[in-house]
Amino acid sequence: MVEVANELEQTRELQYAKARKEQAFTRKLLRNRFAALGLGIIFLLIVTAIFAPLIATHPPNQMDVTKSLLGPGSEGHLLGTDSYGRDTFSRIVYGSRISLIVGISAVLFGAFFGSMLGLISGYVGGRTDAIIMRIIDGMMAFPFILLAIVLMSVLGQGLVNVVIAIGVSNIPGFARVIRGQVLTIKESEYIEVTRSLGARHGRILFYHIVPNSMAPLIVYATMSVAGAIISEASLSFLGLGVQPPTASWGSMLQEGKDFLVLSPELATISGLAILITVLGINLFGDGLRDALDPKMKV
């Protein structure tokens, strides 16, 4: 009876310790003003993307050539119109959806396949590790954006293809981060103990190694979302991204580039939207890294 009570006490202690650690982390993260600002920007982006139909003043693809290239504030168009007479503000609002969808989905894609490869490579080691890492090295021999461009040129325009192209380009980075973590963790004493107690490989991997690799993975994934959003905008800017007339900040910038003299605000505003979003995610990512472990090399 006493033993059971002791065990319960120990479990409660552990739970308190975990909760205290989580509270300390949240405090540390939110006390960092830059991280809080970044979180605010991310929150605004998510709200804009979800409530786009309520926030937008016009349907994003509604054309009216009699009202093309209007300046900001004219005829009920908050940020003016583009060359087809479409409302710039509404297209910016809807463009946040594409950025968010691509940013998150491409990183999830890269994180899933990259982490699997990294886990197998680091845990199994030997020849398997050598083969996987040579493939990863080969993928890393392409500058990130170039690999995405080449994939898009073959796959063709479209949202799903953009996610695949950027997701594939993200795989090697995640594989490296996770492999590094696995190599460190699998040598630690508690893994040795777990193994000697007869734990199976699956249990060691998914109950011990994966949870302990989460911190750098989360930081790397956050930073990668920023990279994926820029990549989507870059592909759309080159005419290789989502299909027109879907509103994407990159394609709006590309259209705006041709009207720099007549309507400079079109290029300016769409670029600012990309910059502020990416800056917000990077600010939050930096804060997250510092709160989790300032010495983390991600």
């Binding site: 990863i136 080969g138 890393m140 080449v150 994939l151 040129s153 920023a226 990416v278």
Partner: protein, 321 residues
């Protein structure tokens, strides 16, 4: 050192093989008959059949891959249909222009980014530090294609000071050449400048907290001497890796900058080839860039070893990549 060099060079072979495999299969993913895609909708069935034969598309896939590897080893990337010349010639014509752009961007980044990082570390928690930190964070978050467009808007459209596109010829004088180079190199230099400032700041701060720096200070050595003779020397090692990585990125990743400023380099060649559906050019150019990327990473690894002989890179997979 010789063993390391040999081992690291041998590691290039499987990496380059994987690169070749990736590029070969990506270009084979083209939907439909690649010859028909490349010749366009106006091509006759005979022309398509003849071109497919010329590209070896009728051979079994393993035969195609084997021929492709043999040609790669001979540095024969094939012929371009749209440019009507060997792809090697196109690369040799365009690659030096990309190198000019990349080197000038790298120089700007080193000249601006490194002193900014040192200054921020020296004046930690002052207004200068906050300014450098904020600007460098904005810099790494910058969509450079937007910055490029904004530079054109400010300096070409509004002020009319600098040309917005193209590359100046040296025949028209050095100034004409430099005038064309300024805007694209400034745009391209933004991210590396910001990254160098961040790296040098954090590694300087790490070094400055070491005991031997405290010892040097307590001996009464001048602060300037401590910073430049002791701290900077040690803080330079991580910078070297970042410089190497950024240089290879600049050589291969200048696609957007070259497109905005119509700079006739490798990036513009690839984008134009994609527009013209000339996938033989895309294939050859991408492989060439990947080779350059891998070789520069090898050089960075070797330099890293020279600067810091204690570093063990033998067991790694691709080292500083």
């Amino acid at each position: 050192m010789r063993t390391f060099l040999l081992k690291r060079s041998l590691q290039l072979i499987p990496t380059l093989f994987v690169v070749a495999v990736i590029v070969f299969f990506i270009t084979r993913m083209l939907p439909g008959n690649p010859a028909a895609v490349m010749l366009g909708p106006q091509a006759s069935a005979e022309d398509i059949a003849a071109y497919a034969e010329r590209l070896g598309l009728n051979d079994p896939i393993y035969q195609q891959f084997f021929d492709y590897l043999i040609n790669l080893v001979k540095f024969d990337f094939g012929n371009s249909l749209s440019y009507n010349q060997p792809i090697v010639n196109l690369i040799m014509e365009r690659f030096p222009n990309t190198v000019i752009l990349a080197v000038s961007a790298l120089l700007i980044a080193i000249i601006v980014g490194v002193p900014a990082g040192i200054l921020a570390a020296k004046k930690q928690n002052t207004i200068i530090d906050y300014l450098v930190t904020t600007l460098s964070l904005v810099g790494v978050s910058m969509p450079i294609f937007w910055l490029g467009v904004m530079l054109v808007l400010a300096f070409s459209v509004n002020l009319g000071w600098l040309p917005s596109t193209g590359m100046g010829s040296l025949d028209n004088g050095l100034w004409a050449f430099i005038r064309h180079l300024i805007l694209p190199s400034l745009a391209l230099a933004t991210i590396p400048t910001a990254q160098f400032a961040r790296v040098i700041r954090s590694s300087m701060l790490e070094t400055l907290s070491n005991d031997y720096i405290k010892a040097a200070r307590s001996k009464g050595l001048k602060e300037t001497f401590v910073i430049y003779k002791h701290a900077l020397k040690n803080a330079l090692t991580p910078l070297l890796t970042v410089i190497g990585l950024q240089f290879s990125n600049l050589l291969g990743g200048a696609v957007l900058t070259e497109t905005i400023f119509s700079w006739p380099g490798m990036g513009l060649l690839i984008v134009n080839a994609i527009d013209k559906r000339d996938f033989v050019v895309v294939q050859g150019s991408v492989i060439f860039i990947a080779i350059i990327y891998v070789v520069i990473n090898l050089i960075v690894d070797v330099l890293y070893k020279v600067v810091n002989p204690k570093v063990n890179l033998d067991g790694g997979s691709g080292g500083a990549n």
